[in-house]
């Protein structure tokens, strides 16, 4: 008798596999003003957002295509008045439905309506572990207290709760306290993600870049906590990119695992893909999701290995990290087809290291909140 817990088999590079996950950015509207917001500089206005029936049509196509996990995100997804209807439609299609929320705008009654509609999981962001500091970073007075209330309501409902914390220079020393808070809030999982410099976050790079000392301590803290809380809290950790030797396997490979739909229906291989000017993206209002996933130029641009520079093609890690992040290559190398400059083998790595050290060594500067 053999019992296997196996994750997905090794990638078949000859053909794009069906997508596993879809991130639906229901709206760009958000009450918070986080300095590391990953949404693009130009936000989609409300009157361009997909309507309820349009979103439900996209969910149906996604389920038919093989998507298992649906992430309802934003902006703040609770800003959509039809969030309960959208959740109910997604759940009825068998999609594992996850609400990624700031908590602001949710009441206990609304949470109960969502869980009654079939919501599977709630992912709640925190910006820090004290009301003063957390509210300073989110730019929203009273946000922290509201989040604590939301966490309790979710716990009361029985639906699994993940606490999601973006960490950066101002809060990276609080990781231990964030983990303790997640346990106190009865979360089953915490996602600690070091800030990535896309969208609005790019403007605050100098203020948010963690120091090398912070990054090293964080790695140790996470390893110890995983050991200590095994079976109590699942800890997912996205380490600091610029301080790593090898790039992240961004999105699990371009067009391999997931896709992202913007509020107005453009379909992207990742949320920052629109920073690559050579690509154009199709819209669910004009094309089917299947056509976009399997046949569009944007999704095929960086699939497989033929697009890779020689440095990546000859590298034994090419099926581990797929050459890294295309948007980061665009931002740092001015070439979306370059090896991610985070890679120790990139000719641009030395320059990135110097720049990172310079930002880390600078006195801690203040940041610009989004939209305040």
């Amino acid at each position: 008798m053999s019992i296997a817990i196996a994750n997905d088999a090794a990638p078949d590079v000859s053909r794009a596999p069906p997508p596993m996950a879809m991130l639906a950015e229901l709206t760009h509207r958000c009450p918070l003003a986080c300095p590391y917001c990953s949404n693009p500089i130009a936000l989609t206005p409300m009157d361009e957002e997909l309507a309820t029936e349009e979103w439900i049509g996209v969910f149906r196509q996604a389920a038919d295509l093989g998507v298992l996990h649906l992430h309802l995100s934003g902006g703040e997804p609770a800003a959509r008045r039809d969030i309960v209807d959208l959740t109910e439609a997604a759940a009825s299609l068998g999609l594992y439905t996850n609400l990624i929320t700031s908590g602001v705008g949710l009441t206990q009654a609304r949470i109960n309506s969502l869980t009654d509609a079939g919501l599977d999981h709630v992912q709640l962001s925190i910006q820090g572990v004290s009301p003063e500091e957390a509210d300073r970073i989110s730019g929203y007075q009273g946000g922290y207290e509201r989040k604590m209330a939301v966490a309790n309501w979710v716990a009361d409902s029985g639906v699994p709760l993940t606490i999601n914390a973006v960490c950066h220079r101002w809060n990276m020393h609080e990781i231990d306290a964030m983990i303790a808070l997640a346990i106190r809030l009865k979360a089953r999982r915490i996602e600690i993600a070091t800030v990535q410099f896309h969208g609005w976050a790019e403007r605050n790079k100098a203020a948010l870049m963690p120091t090398r000392e912070q990054v090293e301590r964080a790695t140790g803290t996470v390893a110890a906590a995983r050991d200590k809380y095994q079976g109590v809290l699942v800890i997912d950790y996205v380490p600091a990119d610029y301080h790593s030797m090898y790039p992240k396997a961004c999105m699990g490979g371009w067009g391999r695992v997931g896709l992202n739909v913007t509020p107005s229906g453009r379909v992207l291989p990742c949320h920052a893909a629109e920073t690559i000017p050579s690509l154009s993206f199709l819209n669910v209002r004009e094309s089917s999701l299947s056509e976009i996933w399997y046949e569009s130029d944007a999704f095929n641009a960086y699939r497989g290995e033929s697009w890779m520079p020689a440095l990546c093609q000859s590298c034994e890690r090419k099926r581990v990290d797929f050459g890294g992040c295309r948007c980061q290559a665009m931002a740092l190398a001015d070439d979306a087809g370059a090896t991610d400059p985070v890679c120790i083998r990139s000719p641009l790595r030395e320059r990135l290291t110097q720049e990172t050290e310079r930002l880390s060594a600078a006195p801690q500067g203040d940041f610009i909140l989004r939209g305040r």
Binding site: I5, N7, G66, L233
Partner: protein, 98 residues
């Protein structure tokens, strides 16, 4: 409540935690266990075990039923079932009923 994997034994009664569920994945022709940010492909025996975690029968009882079905030694199957269930509990996918 939280399940401490070390307390799981043949006498334990468990069920899948809320937010963890089996689903047919017809596009890929397999069955997957879905949980927050996780999708785990299971083999046939693992699917049978997960389906048997009904929150009523003990793991020993489940193993005895399997031993009869598969005509295999109950002790061996019991060890495998407990080991598999411990793996699920470490992933925060179970609720301990008793």
């Amino acid at each position: 409540m939280t399940v401490d994997a070390s307390v799981i034994s043949g006498s334990s009664v468990v069920k899948l935690a809320r937010g963890v569920r089996l689903r047919e994945d017809s596009v890929r022709g397999r069955t997957v266990l879905l949980a927050p940010e996780r999708a785990i492909a299971l083999d046939d025996i693992a699917i049978r075990i997960v389906q048997a975690l009904d929150g009523k029968r003990s793991l020993d009882c489940i193993a005895t039923d399997f031993a009869a079905t598969f005509e295999a030694p109950a002790a061996q199957i019991g060890n495998d079932v407990v080991a598999f269930v411990k793996e699920l509990s470490l992933r925060r996918m179970l609720e301990l009923v008793q």
